[in-house]
Structures are given as structure tokens and as C-alpha cells.
């Protein structure tokens, strides 16, 4: 088996990618959600954008919970 880096470094890189992506994307989804909620005209497209942002945020929270589980539980 080819090891490019030691296993601990490999897992560290994976953690940095997960935390970096999840945290930044969570902020993006939060901003999107706030912007969409400010729209006063209630259309099906607005509902879809809200649902999409909630699902996006949930995915990112799940990603961060997994990291917590990996290191502390």
C-alpha cells in the first residue's frame, strides 16, 4: 500500500477539509437563508430556496458533528 503521508497526517488533512468546507458553507447558507426570508412575496421558488438552504445547512452541521464524534466520542 502506498502511503503519501503518515496516517495521522492523512486524517488531519481530511479533518481540515471537512471543518473548512462545512464552516464556510454553513455561513453561506445562513446568509442565503436570511436574504430569502427577507423577501415578502411568497412564491414556490422562495419556498424551494428556503428548503434548499435548510438542507444545505443541515448537511454542514452533520459534517461538523461527525468531526466532533471522531475526536471526542
Amino acid at each position: 500500500m502506498i502511503e503519501l503521508v503518515p496516517h495521522s497526517v492523512f486524517m488531519g488533512i481530511a479533518t481540515v477539509i471537512i471543518v473548512g468546507t462545512c464552516a464556510s458553507w454553513l455561513v453561506v447558507e445562513y446568509v442565503n437563508l436570511r436574504r430569502t426570508l427577507r423577501e415578502t412575496v411568497h412564491t414556490p421558488e422562495r419556498h424551494d430556496r428556503i428548503f434548499g438552504s435548510i438542507i444545505g445547512a443541515a448537511i454542514m452541521v452533520i459534517g461538523l458533528v461527525g468531526v466532533v464524534k471522531y475526536y471526542w466520542f
Binding site: 503521508v5 477539509i17 428548503f51 434548499g52 438542507i55 452533520i62 461527525g66
Partner: protein, 174 residues
């Protein structure tokens, strides 16, 4: 004038599609780190093809379909191979693949209902498809797979139920 099929964005998508074979090979030969590099490169190319399409003004209907097909083939086949080699839990992978098929059937019905080639734009499912690259990365690294896979399969079920209502019950929006 609409750009042709042969353009920089589709070239990037094709290159991404070709990462399927090294990915399968590395998974089959227990090369976790190399498989991880391939899936990260594939994920980055997924981002890059959208930017290239905008930068070179070559956004086409074919490109959108080709991109979706590349996503389906790359992520779908990677999930199956990972489950076959025991890197990902088989139950949730079967559930995710099954829900994908159900969703595709609903999208077909919606298209017939709407009477047009344009399909329902599910922003939630788009996000979940992006998340599949993450799930594959988790399985390759062995990162909390017993947590991520069942939770994400449940989340996908919620999205499919929501989208089913939008596509099959709600009035078609123009």
C-alpha cells in the same frame, strides 16, 4: 450563437468522468490515500467546470446534462464500489441508490406533467449531490462512516418526499 458541444467546460467534465477508472482501481487495491487524492481532484473539477463554462461563455443545455450524467456515473459508481469492498455500509448505500432511482422516476413524471424539457430545479437535491463527494471521501478515509451514511440516507429520504410533493402534487410553475 450557442457554443458547440466541444468546448473547455465539457472537456473538464470529460476529464472528471475519466477519474472513475483510477478511483475504482485504487479502491479495489486498498490504496486509500491515492483514492482520496482522486476524489478530491474530481470534486475540484466539479467546481472548476462551472467556472470555466462562465469564463469562456460556453454554458449549454448539453453541458448541463453532461455534468449531471458525470455526477451520477462518478458518484453513483464510486458508492457502489465502496459498498462492495466494505468501505461504506451497504444498507445506507442501497437506500441512497434506491432513493436516487425513485427521484429520477418522479422527475420523469414531472417532465411529462409539465410538458417541457426543462425539469424541476431541486436546490436541496443539488446540495445533497454535492454532499455525495463528501460521503465518498468519508468512506475512503474511514471517517465516521457508521454515523454519516445512515444520517445522510435519512436526509435524502426527507428531500425525496419534499420534492415528490413539489413535482407530483403542487401545481406546475411556469
Amino acid at each position: 450563437m450557442e457554443p458547440g458541444v466541444v468546448n473547455p467546460a465539457n472537456a473538464v467534465t470529460l476529464a472528471r468522468l475519466l477519474t472513475i477508472f483510477p478511483l475504482w482501481y485504487f479502491i479495489a487495491n486498498d490504496e486509500r490515500q491515492l483514492a482520496f487524492v482522486v476524489i478530491v481532484v474530481g470534486g475540484l473539477m466539479d467546481l472548476v467546470d462551472g467556472w470555466v463554462a462562465k469564463a469562456f461563455h460556453c454554458q449549454t443545455a448539453f453541458g448541463e446534462v453532461f455534468d449531471a450524467i458525470a455526477d451520477g456515473l462518478l458518484y453513483g459508481s464510486a458508492l457502489v464500489v465502496l459498498a462492495v469492498y466494505g468501505w461504506a455500509p451497504r444498507g445506507p448505500v442501497v437506500a441512497i441508490m434506491g432513493l436516487g432511482v425513485v427521484n429520477a422516476v418522479f422527475r420523469y413524471i414531472y417532465q411529462r406533467r409539465a410538458g417541457r424539457t426543462m425539469n424541476y430545479l431541486s436546490l436541496a437535491m443539488e446540495r445533497f449531490t454535492g454532499n455525495l463527494a463528501f460521503l465518498i471521501g468519508f468512506a475512503i478515509t474511514g471517517y465516521e462512516v457508521d454515523f454519516y451514511f445512515p444520517v445522510c440516507a435519512s436526509l435524502m429520504a426527507v428531500i425525496v418526499i419534499h420534492d415528490a410533493k413539489r413535482m407530483l402534487v403542487d401545481p406546475v410553475t411556469r
